[in-house]
Symmetry: D2
Subunit: 131 residues, 4 copies
């Protein structure tokens, strides 16, 4: 599990007084940096090799401004050329949001999916989600 603590910003709120739902994909993508580094250790965009296929986000409880949020990032599936990242946002002792993102190992010059190397699979499996 990778953990990141963030401080929600005033601009992340909406007129209903809590964090707007559209911030979660932004935060979750930020927290996936730890996963991106398994593929591109220096995060060099010219060597990027991941593309997003799909994500879902489920809201369990409201998130608020003024209290820090913990983002927990796990790997929940390792396939041949793709894998799933499962993430949670915790605040005030509660799991407030969870979601899964399907990432594909991708060759941007060919525009084709590529098999994930065995060495990266080993790294991904170190962070596997256990319910």
């Amino acid at each position: 599990m990778f953990s990141e603590i963030i401080q929600p910003r005033f601009s992340d709120t909406d007129a209903l007084g809590h964090i707007n739902n559209t911030m979660l994909p932004v935060w979750f993508e930020g927290a996936r940096d730890a996963v991106f580094k398994l593929f591109t250790p220096d995060l060099d965009l010219n060597k990027w090799q991941l593309i997003i296929a799909k994500y879902d986000v489920t809201f369990h409880a409201e998130l608020f401004y003024g209290q820090e949020i913990e983002l927990r990032t796990y790997i929940s599936r390792v396939g041949g050329a793709s894998f799933d990242v499962y993430q949670e946002a915790w605040q005030h002792g509660e799991k407030c949001v969870s979601g899964t993102t399907v990432m594909v190992n991708f060759n941007y010059s060919d525009k084709k999916a590529m098999p994930i190397s065995e060495s990266i699979k080993i790294e991904l499996n170190k962070h596997i989600y256990q319910e």
Copy 2:
């Protein structure tokens, strides 16, 4: 079906040269205004009665800056107190992104789900998605 044409903004792109995936929930929420008005015709935030339970977003093809995008919004399920909004983003003649959002009719003072009225159900059913 509700249709909205938007012009993607420079700031919606990311370093891979296309539209960043996190913009889709923003655009889809914007395009749900048409649905919000069935519940709160003047969009008065003090009378707001919808809360988001879940959404998913699937990426079929890249979206680019410099060409307009059509957002298509349908209702794909009408339940007792909740309903699903199915949406698509089209550009260069292709369905590039699709996604479904589960909305709940919600009483913000009680913090409880409420049954959707029959008259609103009739309106929602006018925009039902047919595959």
Copy 3:
């Protein structure tokens, strides 16, 4: 003057119930597309030749969700290698926000400012701001 009408989105609001101040640079950049096209008519990012040097934004009145906003874009200065874009956001019959952005004609391969061509200067001058 270039004019663009936008519909503010729910996610553009903040917990104080109005549009968050950080949306204005986003909207103003979007509305500068008309100016970008004078330099790069097809908005092809590989031929981009503008860089931002500075901007300021002044808030005269609150902007709200639920009513459309007109973005007005003018040129307020044409220099040798740089120019100023002056913009306003209007809602409910009022000029609510105004701001100026300093743009530089820039060669991304040399990382150097370049003189603006006479033909582009003529185009810029057609949209000059008159108080």
Copy 4:
């Protein structure tokens, strides 16, 4: 001086390969939390008493994804009912962006500016910017 370290997110970049200019007001507002707490120690939005009058942002050098950024926040003017916050964004040993925000002590029920109390002025003066 208040200092905050942030990790720029993938979604903060744009198609030119660096951080998009519109992120700076977002980050600077986030970093002003330290200042907001001088007025509203618990950041309770129902007791909020600040409004933004104006800001400017100047770009000195590009900011990139993949390296942390330090946001430095100072007070550069203390007036009767308003004050200026001067901020800088540093990366790779360089001051890349700077900007000043004019904040007004504001009574949201009366919609009127209010004098800043002497005790808050003392706190603000502890963080004054010295060139």
